[in-house]
Symmetry: C2
Subunit: 253 residues, 2 copies
């Protein structure tokens, strides 16, 4: 319990208002926090599996084992819980990636690490991969996650002439498209996809590395250099979706 | 009316059993044909807008103004009507593209024409673009449409060393991903997306051409050659989704 307290105190209090004093937390507050977390976890699973349009609030509350009415104590609408899920699973992942690569100067290396970890994350947590595929093409999702971070790294690389694409937007289309298609193909490899690939005489071995080499080549790096970058050890990323720290329901102005 | 008869007789009878003798068609057969078409058209719109998981058969019959029970006279299940829609809108488009480029020998030119028409088609018919985005990452959709055709053209280009990617599968990820991301960004430009792009100081002018140049560069063509290929006049493609010719409900063995 003391360990938990230490962890809670090491983060800024305003980001985790309800977990701050876990040991002294009144039962009502703890229940509220647990309900919030259950709702987010249920929404994550359902939205990833079926898409937000196919999920009713009542299905979320049933999956979370929470009364229908309680939903509105935590979220204003389905859009609100959807946005909260995206923030936690993509902004959370993106922040972890940012911390991992903050000392990396080379934009090509940065993009390579991000691509490999994104493909690996989708392999480790297919729900996460599924949600990424669904959200990639929604412009509403773009600003709050991985797309904007990729655009940022691409802009640096284009300005430094490290990447040979006409502009960052084109870089985003080719690099983001490659990552997302790799994720999609990889998820497909669990079923029908593997037969298709086999029938076409193709191989899925070392898929994440090959996709990342292809991506760097697409951004204009010579094949040998792309292979060299991807040949480097990948720094481990210890991150998984967590729903324990509720974001504020009504963010201030 | 005689013209209609000629058209009907010019196709093999087994492919259009119900439109064959249009002038002599009994009312019941015509109604059945029209109902079939209405169901497909309604399913196309609803599935494109919301995804198949979010659409109930009853919503399709209501949108088509058809009794719920009649649905099963035409399709065995929601999966069956979903598959029929995909066949008509993607296989139909792919076949039209194949006819358009059958005299083109250069795989780079072939892929460029396909990419530009795919992006243009999504701009002309946003529902079509929306459905393409939804289906791209579903392995079930892969075999019946554009993915397999692209893989075919990429395989030819890789074998002929026209494309400099390690193998056709990697070519598919980068080329397919670029096309689909371009379609997604373009759809996004109708709303929120345009503000994001503006804020980032980027431009969406000549989007289809720029995306296709980027795609060809990603496949290893030198920038000048990619620009030259995309600078050629695009042969027009006169195709739009049609639901008039019902595919056989129970294909023979």
């Amino acid at each position: 319990m003391s360990k938990r307290l230490v962890v809670a105190e090491s983060v800024p209090p305003e980001s985790q208002p309800e977990t701050r004093k876990a040991s002294a937390e009144p039962r009502g507050a703890r229940r509220k926090r647990e309900t919030h977390e259950s709702l987010l976890r249920a929404a994550y699973k359902l939205i990833a599996e079926r898409g937000a349009d196919a999920v009713a609030i009542q299905e979320i509350t049933e999956a979370a084992d929470v009364g229908f009415g309680s939903f509105y104590n935590h979220f204003e609408s389905k859009d609100a819980i959807h946005a909260a899920v995206l923030r936690m699973v993509f902004d959370g992942f993106g922040s972890a990636l940012d911390r991992l690569t903050q000392a990396v100067d080379d934009p090509a290396q940065k993009v390579a690490v991000a691509a490999r970890h994104t493909i690996a994350m989708a392999a480790k947590d297919p729900l996460w991969g599924q949600l990424l595929l669904r959200e990639w093409s929604r412009p509403q999702s773009f600003s709050l996650g991985l797309g904007m971070r990729l655009l940022r790294d691409l802009s640096v690389g284009v300005a430094a002439k490290r990447f040979n694409v006409s502009d960052p937007l084109m870089g985003l289309i080719v690099a983001g498209g490659t990552i997302v298609s790799a994720v999609g193909l990889q998820l497909g490899l669990r079923g029908e996809g593997s037969r298709l690939i086999e029938r076409a005489g193709l191989s899925a071995v070392d898929f994440d590395k090959r996709a990342t080499i292809t991506l760097l080549q697409a951004l204009g790096l010579p094949p040998a250099e792309a292979r060299k970058i991807v040949g480097r050890a990948l720094p481990p990323l210890d991150w998984k979706p967590t729903f324990a720290a509720p974001p504020p329901i009504h963010p201030g102005p």
